[in-house]
Symmetry: C2
Subunit: 217 residues, 2 copies
C-alpha cells in the first residue's frame, strides 16, 4: 500500500540551483520537499516525512516555514521564476523573426523541464493544491510565460509565417509537449538535453507550419 508501481517521474534527484535555495535549514527543507512533493504529490507527503528527510524533528520545520503549504508555495514560485527567466534569456538577442523566437522559446522551455524535472512537475502539477493567496505569485509568472509565447505565435500568424487554425490551441500543444519532458527526462537519458531541446523546437515550428526562413534566418 505504500509502494508505488510506477514512479511518478523518472528523475531521482531534487535539483536546485544554489541561487534557488535560501541558506541553511530552509534550503534543506526546500530540497527535501521538492523530492517528496514531486514523487508523492503535496497531499501524499507528510510533515513527518519531510522532517525525516531533512534530519530534524517535525516541529523544527515551523521555525522556517509557517506551514507545509508555504513550502509548496515557495517551490512553485521558484519553478515558475526559473521558467520565465530561461525563456526570457533564450529570447534575448534572437531577433524579430517569429520562427527564431519560437525556436528560442521552446529551447528555453524544454531546457528548464529537463534541467529541473522535479521543480517543473511540482510547479505545474501541484499548484492546484495551494490556496489563492499562496498560488497567486506563481499563477502570475505562469501567465507571463504563456503570454510570451502567445504573442510570438500571434504575430507570426499575422505576418503569415505561421499557419494555424487557432493560436491558443497551438500554444497549448507546444506547451503540453514541453511540459511532459519533465516526467521522463533524467540526467543520464540516452537523448541529450540539447538534442531534445532542438528536436522539440523543430516540432513546434512544424506544428505552426512555419514557412521556410527568409534572409533573417
Amino acid at each position: 500500500m505504500l509502494q508505488t508501481a510506477t514512479r511518478r517521474l523518472a528523475a531521482t534527484d531534487a535539483t536546485l540551483l544554489p541561487a534557488h535555495k535560501p541558506p541553511g535549514t530552509r534550503g534543506l527543507i526546500l530540497a527535501a520537499g521538492l523530492k517528496l512533493f514531486a514523487e508523492r504529490g503535496y497531499a501524499g507527503a507528510s510533515i513527518r516525512e519531510l522532517a525525516d528527510a531533512v534530519g530534524v524533528q517535525p516541529a523544527s520545520l515551523y521555525a522556517h516555514y509557517p506551514s507545509k503549504e508555504h513550502v509548496l508555495s515557495a517551490l512553485c514560485r521558484i519553478g515558475h521564476e526559473e521558467l520565465l527567466r530561461r525563456v526570457r534569456r533564450t529570447l534575448q538577442g534572437c531577433g524579430e523573426d517569429p520562427r527564431d523566437q519560437v525556436f528560442a522559446y521552446v529551447r528555453g522551455h524544454v531546457g528548464m523541464q529537463s534541467a529541473f524535472p522535479m521543480l517543473a512537475v511540482v510547479a505545474n502539477a501541484e499548484l492546484h493544491a495551494l490556496s489563492p493567496a499562496l498560488s497567486a505569485a506563481s499563477l502570475g509568472l505562469r501567465q507571463q510565460s504563456i503570454q510570451l509565447l502567445t504573442d510570438i505565435v500571434q504575430r507570426g500568424a499575422q505576418q503569415g509565417v505561421f499557419t494555424v487554425p487557432d493560436v491558443w490551441l497551438a500554444v497549448a500543444a507546444i506547451g503540453a509537449m514541453g511540459d511532459r519532458v519533465a516526467y521522463w527526462y533524467t540526467p543520464d537519458h540516452k537523448l541529450s538535453t540539447r538534442f531534445v531541446c532542438e528536436v522539440y523546437a523543430q516540432y513546434a515550428l512544424r506544428i505552426l507550419a512555419a514557412s521556410p526562413a527568409g534572409p533573417s534566418a
Copy 2:
C-alpha cells in the same frame, strides 16, 4: 487552506458511460470518486468526503470496495480501457497508410480526453499512487495504446512518409499534446470536440513532417 486557487482541471462533471459503471451504489461510488480524485488527487481526497458525495456512511463503502485504493484502481482501469477501445475503433477501417492511421489515432485519443476529461486525468495522473498489484492492469493497457502509435510512426518512418529525428520522441510529443486536452476541455468550450480532434490530428502529422498524401488518401 481548503479552497484551491485554480481548479486542477476545467471540467466539472464526472462523465462516465453507463457501460463503465457497475449498477447501484458501486456505480455511484465510482462517479463520486472520479470527481474527487480528479479535482483533489487521490491522496487529497478522503473516504469521508467520498461517502458524503455518495450519500452514505463511510463504513458502507467497504461493502463495495475493499479499500480506497481499489476505487482508484477501478477508475484507472476504466480510463485506460476506454482509451484503448477508442483508438482501436478509430483505427478500424482507415486503411494501411500511416498518415491516415496517425490521424485516426489522434482523433481517438483526443476524443477520449475531451469526452471523459476527469477519467483521463485520473487514469494518467493518479496511477502512480497505486501499488504494483493494483496498477498492473492499467499499465498494461497504457502500454498497448502507446505501442499502437509507436508501431504506426515506426512504419511510416521506414516507408519514408514520416521524417523524425527520433520515433520515441515524436510519440511522446503527440501523446503529451493529446493528454493535456483533458485539463482544459469542457463540454461548453468554444472550440468543439470535433474541431480540437481534427486540429490536433493535423498537428501530429505536422510533427511527423508527413509527406503529402498519395492516391490512398
